[in-house]
């Protein structure tokens, strides 16, 4: 069976008409006749996505992929279509197909790609990267390649080499999965490929904390490391031997900002060309015409989690549905988010995975009826402490609104914003939190549900549940397993839609919405492709075509 590409239907993003939201289209690569090269793109990679300039480990960062993709390459990326993601295309890989039994993938790599120091890129680098990421002593890697044969042993610490990743020759790789997994290319698209010849010199247990990342980082991307000023900035310069051709820009500078408002002021002063922007600032910036606003779904599902051990009455799905129906989600989105969020029926934010799973609409009377039917009296439960690690004003307003909604059906909650580490310990380690407002990545594929809801992903091995409890629904398990084995995209979508229906009914997470994130880019820049999202960056952003007119 030959799989060359997957067509992904896009997520429609509904946004208030008051906001100007041009989503830049993929550049066809047409270059104007005059020489428009030069200029340095200065930007602030800040916001919920990102760590600071001093934490440069490309394996451990959970966001700002659209920074790392300037330095490193990946096997695959997604082309950008009119509605966010288009087809999966090859970046460092050129061809990929899977054997008849669906277990062995043969991946052909691109010829003529070199690392920033001139060494040729080979399949050994890919194998090295996958094994490094899976090694528990390497200091943490945010991706997990468990479906590949031999990787779980490395993750458990009993092996150092993955038997399922075989280097056939310098430009050919064979990857074997334990079970047929149609999503392997998507899984592989996320990780940045690292140089074995350079990073491999360092003992594995020192890599996480190594200064290689800040002083010697080498990648296959269009820009290479130049200067690192601790606490302040990282400078990249053009890599002339980039396989797509030398970039137009001279360089890119990442500036450190701890305060978003300060970054916005710097942007308005013309000192930086791009920054993350919070939703409440979009109106003011649009009115001032200071730049172009780029918007995109955040890829993060905001949800409420309930602890069924501490609150057995709330464990009943009917009761959880009642809690959800008592919340006027649309009003919160309209008034507190200013329209910059979209309701979701289950984990998934993409319409092709939601199918026609019904949304639990605001209906406090129906909620009360359900509670009566279940025989639960919420006012008899006393005050429940509602924890969260969100400390911003918007989340406080959201929780306040929900608190008011729930008061109508008799539930009293006390808002308790916490510090992230304290929250992690209370919710996951102790299992001592009654209720939480949190956020979880909802993509890029439907398989994201696996790490949250499949019974085999119980905490602490996976992310399902917490100390002493894990959600388990055999029907859901079967659907998720079947989906990864399904190689026809349309059929796979249908399976995930069924999974969505189950999640919408069981409500292991009381799913609320997916918010929209914004960036602003200066009018001096051209050809910019940018999709603001927590894990944004798995798309091809054509940075080598970006130009800057110095004004």
């Amino acid at each position: 069976m030959r799989i060359g590409s997957r067509i992904r239907r896009a997520t429609a993003v509904t946004l208030s008409a008051a906001l100007m939201l041009p989503v830049a289209l993929a550049s066809t690569g047409a270059v104007s006749a005059q020489d428009d090269s030069g200029g340095t793109f200065v930007a602030a990679w800040i916001g919920p996505c990102c760590l600071d300039v001093d934490t440069n480990n490309a394996l451990a960062a959970g966001g700002d992929y659209h920074w790392w993709n300037k330095i490193y390459g990946r096997l695959f990326t997604y082309a950008v279509d009119v509605d966010r993601y288009g087809a999966l295309t090859g970046d460092l890989a050129t061809e990929w197909n899977v054997s008849e039994d669906g277990l062995t993938w043969t991946i052909k790599l691109r010829e003529g790609v070199t690392w920033h120091d001139g060494t040729p890129f080979t399949a050994n680098d890919v194998k090295f990267t996958l094994e490094l990421c899976s090694n528990p002593t390497a200091g943490g890697c945010v991706w997990s390649f468990t479906p590949i044969v031999g990787i779980p042993e490395i993750q458990a610490g009993t092996a150092t080499e993955a038997s399922g990743v075989v280097v056939v020759d310098d430009l050919t790789l064979e990857i074997t999965t334990a079970a047929p997994n149609s999503l392997l290319p998507d899984l592989l698209s996320e990780i940045f490929i690292l140089p074995k010849h350079s990073l491999g010199e360092i003992p594995v247990d020192q890599i996480g904390a190594s200064d290689w990342w800040t002083t010697q980082a080498i990648g296959t991307g269009p820009f290479k490391w130049s200067v690192y000023t601790p606490g302040q900035s990282i400078e990249l310069v053009r890599f002339d031997d980039y396989w797509r051709g030398a970039p137009k820009l001279d360089g890119i500078i990442r500036r450190q900002f701890q305060d978003i408002s300060a970054a916005i002021i710097a942007f308005e002063a013309g000192e930086i060309d791009m920054t993350y922007v919070t939703a409440d600032e979009v109106g003011r910036l649009t009115d001032s015409g200071a730049g172009t606003i780029f918007a995109g779904p955040s890829g993060v599902n905001n949800f409420i989690s309930v602890n069924p051990i501490l609150n057995p009455e709330l464990a009943d799905p009917i009761v959880k549905q009642a809690l959800l129906q008592a919340i006027d989600r649309q009003a919160i989105v309209d008034n507190i988010y200013g329209g910059a969020a979209e309701l979701v029926p289950c984990l998934y934010g993409r319409k092709n995975l939601q199918g026609d799973t019904p949304m639990w609409d605001y209906d406090p009377d129906a909620a009360k009826a359900k509670l009566a039917e279940a025989g639960v009296d919420l006012s008899a439960m006393g005050e429940i402490t509602w924890d969260t690690y969100y400390n911003d004003a918007l989340s406080a307003n959201v929780m306040t609104a929900i608190q008011a909604n729930w008061a109508e059906i008799g539930l009293t909650v006390k808002l308790n914003p916490m510090e992230p580490s304290a929250w992690t310990q209370k919710w996951y380690d102790d299992g001592g939190s009654s209720m939480s407002l949190a956020g979880g990545a909802n993509g890029p594929t439907g398989n994201r549900a696996y790490q949250y809801f499949h019974s085999s992903a119980a905490w602490p091995t996976g992310n399902n549940g917490f100390n002493g409890y894990a959600y388990s629904n055999p029907e859901l398990d079967a659907l998720l397993d079947a989906a990864t084995a399904e190689f026809d995209p349309a059929a796979q979508d249908l399976v995930y839609q069924q999974a969505c229906a189950i999640l919408a009914n069981d409500l292991p997470w009381i799913n609320l919405w997916q918010s929209v994130r914004y960036h602003i880019v200066s009018n001096d820049m051209q050809n910019v492709i940018l999709i603001p999202a927590a894990g944004g960056g798995t798309y091809y952003d054509a940075v080598e075509t970006w130009t800057k007119t110095s004004s």
Binding site: A209, S261, E271, A457
Partner: protein, 318 residues
């Protein structure tokens, strides 16, 4: 005096040890550990990875063992490495301290240079229009949070009037230039100096008022001495005591005292470093900064006590 100093330095050692033990214990008592901070829940989890991190940093060892490990390292000059980024802590603290010291030191000097003379003036013209105006401006300044002053300053002076760069210590992409550094230092230092000026103004005014009304001043004046001599020689020296105390209390503030201003101006100082350390539950980083802070406090208080002796020779320590 020499014996006194020697005794003070000697007793500093057990005090330092005591502080480090207490802070270490508190860090262990804080909810959450470095693993919780390092492994964010939404990215899934891996037991082997958690165990590897715990083993690597010795987090499963008993508390006294971990403390002695840290202490042993420090005595050999090894302050450890940051959990999150792996950078050497001594280097990080050194860099951050230089940045903080430059900022706070300038602010302190500016604040003293403005606050003390204005305080004297206020006292001499108590309840005049000038006095009330200065009082008003001072209180306005301290009632407004530092981020507001910072953002407001950046907006006005940086954006609208285009007089200063927005954030950072230097212009990136250019070799270090002292004038450029001063250009970046100007606004945050002035904003912080405002706070110091307010403090010095009020304390100077208060103690000058006390002394102006003292009987020996009226005696001096009744002797016919000109006002300026009376204020200069007789009163100011005694009004110095609270000023010395405040200077002494301001020195430790250079260690992490201006977090918010540092954040707004992206000034990579110790305030931000300490906050990061607490957020990440990074024991070694917290301990390193605490040690520095404690040393500065002890030295500052020692210098203050010595200075008291010079300001008022009648002060004796037994």
């Amino acid at each position: 005096m020499g014996a006194y100093i020697a005794r003070r330095l000697l007793i500093s050692i057990p005090v330092l040890l005591g502080i480090t033990i207490i802070v270490f214990t508190f860090t262990a008592l804080a909810p959450g550990d470095p693993v919780d901070a390092l492994i964010r829940p939404e990215f899934g989890n891996n037991e082997a990875m958690r165990n590897a991190i715990i083993a690597h940093y010795g987090l499963d060892q008993p508390l006294p063992v971990r403390y002695l490990r840290w202490l042993g390292g420090v005595l050999q000059g090894d302050f450890g490495f940051r959990i999150l980024s792996g950078q050497a802590i001594l280097g990080e603290i050194g860099r951050a301290f230089t940045a903080s010291f430059a900022l706070m030191g300038t602010a302190l000097i500016l604040g003293m240079a403005t606050g003390i003379p204005l305080g004297v003036l206020s006292a001499v013209r108590q309840y005049s229009k000038l006095d009330f105006m200065l009082t008003g401006v001072t209180f306005l300044g301290i009632s407004v949070p530092s981020f507001l002053l910072g953002l407001g300053g950046l907006y006005l002076v940086g954006l609208q009037w285009d007089l200063v760069p927005i954030g950072g210590m230097t212009t990136i992409g250019q070799p270090f230039d002292f004038i450029d550094f001063l250009h970046h230092l100007a606004l945050p230092a002035v904003i912080l100096a405002f706070g110091y000026a307010a403090i010095f103004l009020r304390y100077t005014r208060a103690s000058m008022l006390e002394v102006i009304n003292a009987e020996y001043v009226t005696t001096a004046r009744s002797k016919g001495l000109p006002r300026r001599t009376v204020i200069g020689r007789h009163t100011f020296r005694n009004a110095l005591i609270p000023i010395i105390t405040i200077v002494g209390l301001s020195l430790p503030a250079m260690i992490g005292g201006a977090v918010v201003t540092e954040q707004v101006f992206s000034w990579p100082g110790l305030g931000q470093l300490l906050v990061d350390g607490v957020n990440e539950r990074d024991y070694y980083l917290i301990m390193g900064i605490t040690l520095l802070l404690a040393v500065v406090v002890l030295i500052a208080n020692l210098l203050t006590d010595i200075a008291y002796g010079y300001a008022d020779p009648r002060i004796r320590y037994s």
